[in-house]
C-alpha cells in the first residue's frame, strides 16, 4: 500500500495576488484566507452571539445542495499527457459527483476553459454557475508523471489549494483519487474517502453450489482482483487499520475459522486456536488485536485476541446466549455487539473490558451487524422485521435511529473511513427453484439517506469492507 507519490504544495499564484491588490475591496479576504492550512478537526467552540442590542441579518434554514463545480481536463504537454489530463479529470469528476456533495458541471457548458497555470477567467466560470474550479496540468516522461492541480473558489476569486504530485505513470488513478480527497477536504472540512479500497466476497455459480471468493477493488469499482481461488468459501472480510492485511472467515478444509490474509505476500494464517467455530472478526482501532465471536455449545461469546503473540481475553459470558458481531468504537473504549440475551437479537454496548453492558436498540424487529462509524457519532446496523430488511443508523446511546434503505434482503454495512458513506449489499429473491433472478450487489448510500448508488462489480458481491485511506 506504499504510495510512492511525491507531493509538492503550489503557492497561490502571484498573478492572483496582483489581481486582488487591484481589486481593492477583495484584497482583505484574499490575504486572510489564502493559506490552506488545515487544523485538526474539533468540535466547534460555541459561537459568540451578536453583542446585545446590535443588529444582524439572520440567514438560516439552509438547503442541502451540492456545490456546483467545473473540472475541465488537465492540460497535457503533448503525447500521452493530453489523454492522461483528460482521464484524471474524468476520475475526479466521478469521485466528487458520486459523493452527492458536488455537482460537476457538464463540460459542454464551459466557456474558454483556458490554459493551466494561468489565473482563470473567473467571469467565464461564474457565468455558468461554477462555485469551485479545478485546473491543472500534466507532464509525463520516462514512465513518470507530474500532475499539478489548483482549486479555485470562483466567487471570491481565490486559489484555495495548489498541489503537485510526482509518481509512476501507472499510479495515475491514485493521483486522481488523492486530488479528489484534497478537494473534498478543502471544500467540506472533512477527510475524503476516494483513495481507498473495498474488499468483498465475490459470488459466482448456481445458488446451491455458490463459489465465494475474496476480492478487492478500488472504491469506485476499478482494479478488481480476486484474492482466493474459490476452492474454499470465504466470508466477512475486514481490513487491518494500518497494515496491508485482511481478517476473514475461511472454510478451508470445511472448518470455519478466522484467518489473516497478507495482501503483500498472499500468505494466509489462522488466527488463534479455538475449540469452537470463530467468526465475525474485527480489528481493534490500533490494529494490535482482533475481537471476534467463538461458539460454544448453543451459544457464543466475544473474545479479544492479541496479535503478535498477545493473549486471548473473554469479554462476554452470555450463559448460553448468542453474542456476536463485535465492533470497537474508534477510541477503543467501547464495543457494540449483537446478542439475544434479552430474548431476541438486539444491539448492546459495553466497555472495552466487557463491563457495563447496556442495550441500545429498542425499535421494532431484530438488529444485527453493528458497525461503529470511524468518526464515532453513529452506529450502523441491519434490522429485520415485518418481512423486510433495512440498513439504519443510530447514535451510540441508541437515540436518533434512522432507516436509510429497505429491501427484500440487505445487510453487511461498512463505513467509509470518513464516516460519511455506508456500503452494504442487497439481494434480490430468486424467481424459481433453480435460483433464476437471484442477485447480490453492493450499494452505497450517504449517511443522510440520500444518494443511494450501485457499486459495479464484475460478479455478484456481498460482505463489503471499506479500507482506511491508503498510506
Amino acid at each position: 500500500m506504499t504510495k510512492m507519490i511525491k507531493t509538492t504544495p503550489i503557492p497561490a499564484s502571484a498573478e492572483t495576488g496582483a489581481a486582488f491588490s487591484r481589486r481593492g475591496l477583495m484584497a482583505g479576504s484574499a490575504a486572510m484566507l489564502a493559506a490552506p492550512a488545515i487544523a485538526r478537526a474539533q468540535t466547534p467552540a460555541p459561537a459568540p452571539s451578536a453583542a446585545p442590542g446590535s443588529a444582524v441579518i439572520d440567514v438560516n434554514r439552509a438547503r442541502t445542495d451540492p456545490i456546483p463545480m467545473a473540472i475541465p481536463a488537465l492540460t497535457g504537454s503533448g503525447g500521452d499527457s493530453d489523454r492522461l489530463g483528460s482521464d484524471i479529470a474524468s476520475v475526479i469528476t466521478n469521485d466528487l459527483g458520486h459523493s452527492g456533495l458536488f455537482r460537476p458541471i457538464d463540460p459542454a457548458a464551459f466557456i474558454n476553459a483556458g490554459a493551466a497555470g494561468d489565473v482563470p477567467n473567473f467571469a467565464n466560470w461564474k457565468a455558468i454557475g461554477a462555485q469551485a474550479l479545478v485546473t491543472g496540468k500534466v507532464e509525463s516522461a520516462g514512465g513518470k508523471a507530474r500532475v499539478e492541480f489548483r482549486l479555485w473558489d470562483v466567487l471570491p476569486q481565490q486559489q484555495i489549494q495548489g498541489t503537485a504530485y510526482t509518481t509512476d505513470l501507472s499510479n495515475w488513478r491514485r493521483i486522481a483519487h488523492i486530488i479528489s480527497d484534497v478537494i473534498y477536504e478543502r471544500l467540506l472540512g472533512e477527510k475524503g474517502y476516494f483513495d481507498t479500497r473495498i474488499v468483498y466476497i465475490a459470488g459466482t455459480g448456481p445458488r446451491d453450489r455458490r463459489i465465494k471468493r475474496l476480492a478487492i477493488m478500488d472504491q469506485d469499482g476499478e482494479n478488481n482482483r480476486f484474492l482466493t481461488d474459490g476452492s474454499f468459501m470465504a466470508l466477512t472480510p475486514r481490513f487491518h487499520p494500518t497494515r496491508d492485511q485482511i481478517a476473514f472467515m475461511s472454510y478451508l478444509n470445511n472448518k470455519p475459522r478466522v484467518f489473516l490474509f497478507d495482501l503483500g505476500t498472499g500468505r494466509q494464517q489462522v488466527l488463534g486456536d479455538f475449540a469452537g467455530i470463530t467468526l465475525s472478526p474485527r480489528f481493534a482501532p490500533d490494529g494490535n488485536s482482533v475481537i471476534m465471536a467463538q461458539t460454544h455449545g448453543s451459544g457464543s461469546d466475544i473474545f479479544s485476541v492479541g496479535l503478535n503473540g498477545g493473549g486471548t481475553r473473554r469479554l462476554t459470558d452470555g450463559g448460553g446466549s448468542i453474542n456476536v458481531s463485535p465492533c470497537y468504537s474508534p477510541d477503543a473504549t467501547q464495543i457494540v455487539f449483537n446478542s439475544d440475551r434479552g430474548g431476541d437479537q438486539q444491539l448492546y454496548v459495553m466497555g472495552a473490558d466487557g463491563s457495563g453492558v447496556k442495550r441500545i436498540s429498542y425499535g421494532q424487529g431484530q438488529y444485527a451487524d453493528p458497525v461503529w462509524s470511524p468518526r464515532g457519532d453513529l452506529i450502523a446496523y441491519t434490522r429485520f422485521g415485518g418481512g423486510t430488511f433495512s440498513i439504519g443508523v443510530m447514535k451510540p446511546d441508541g437515540s436518533g435511529e434512522r432507516i436509510l434503505s429497505e429491501s427484500f434482503f440487505c445487510e453487511g454495512p461498512t463505513f467509509a473511513p470518513n464516516g460519511r458513506v455506508i456500503m452494504f449489499y442487497r439481494e434480490t429473491p430468486a424467481t424459481d427453484s433453480r435460483g433464476h433472478g437471484f442477485s447480490a450487489k453492493l450499494v452505497s448510500i450517504d449517511i443522510t439517506g440520500f444518494n443511494e448508488r450501485p457499486v459495479i462489480t464484475p460478479t455478484d458481491a456481498s460482505d463489503p469492507a471499506w479500507s482506511p485511506l491508503l498510506q
Binding site: 484566507l33 467552540a45 434554514r61 439552509a62 442541502t64 472533512e190 457519532d377
Partner: protein, 172 residues
C-alpha cells in the same frame, strides 16, 4: 549615390552611465541612489489605519456598519434574499451547532463585494476546517450574483465616504 545616413537610434541610452566601469561597488551605488530617491522630503501624509471600518460614522453605526439603520423588515428581506443561495452540508459533523458572523462590504450599487468573518469569529474559523467550510459556503451565498447583487437599494446606502457594511449571522 550613397544611401542617406541612418537616423539616430531611439533605443540607445541618451546619457552615459555614471557607473560604466566595472566596480564591485556598483550594487551599493545603485542601492544608495534608490535610498536617496525614497528620502522623505515632505511632511508625512499617512495616518494610522483605523480598525476595520473606522470610527463611528455620522449615521450612528460603528465601523461603517449600517445594519442597525435598517428596519427589521428590511433586514428580514435581505436575509430572505441571501437564503435562496444558502446551502449546507447536512452530513457534516456537528453541522447543526455551527454559526458564523460575517461582515459584508457593499459597493456603491449596494452589491456585496467583500465578505469577511466577523472579528470575533476569525480565530474559530482558522482553527476548524469544518467551520471554515461553513464560512466559505456562507460567503458564496452572499457573493452569488443571484442573491448578493443589489442587496440594498441605493437610497438606503449611507453616503459618508465610508464603505457600507452589513453584519450577517449564518446558521443551518
Amino acid at each position: 549615390m550613397p544611401p542617406p545616413p541612418s537616423p539616430p537610434s531611439t533605443t540607445s541610452q541618451p546619457n552615459p552611465s555614471t557607473n560604466a566601469a566595472a566596480d564591485s561597488r556598483e550594487l551599493d551605488n545603485t542601492l544608495e541612489k534608490l535610498r536617496a530617491l525614497q528620502k522623505q522630503t515632505q511632511s508625512a501624509t499617512a495616518r494610522p489605519n483605523p480598525v476595520r471600518g473606522g470610527a463611528p460614522t455620522p449615521a450612528g453605526s460603528a465601523r461603517g456598519d449600517i445594519t442597525a439603520t435598517l428596519s427589521a423588515d428590511q433586514r428580514a428581506a435581505i436575509g430572505d434574499k441571501v437564503r435562496e443561495c444558502w446551502t449546507k452540508d447536512a452530513g457534516a459533523l456537528n453541522e447543526d451547532q455551527m454559526q458564523v458572523m460575517l461582515t459584508v462590504t457593499l459597493d456603491a450599487s449596494g452589491t456585496a463585494r467583500l465578505v469577511e468573518p466577523a472579528t470575533s469569529d476569525v480565530g474559530r474559523i482558522s482553527g476548524d476546517p469544518r467551520l471554515r467550510a461553513f464560512f466559505e459556503r456562507a460567503r458564496r451565498a452572499v457573493l452569488d450574483p443571484r442573491c448578493g447583487n443589489d442587496l440594498l437599494p441605493k437610497d438606503k446606502l449611507v453616503n459618508n465616504g465610508a464603505p457600507n457594511r452589513l453584519t450577517f449571522r449564518f446558521s443551518p
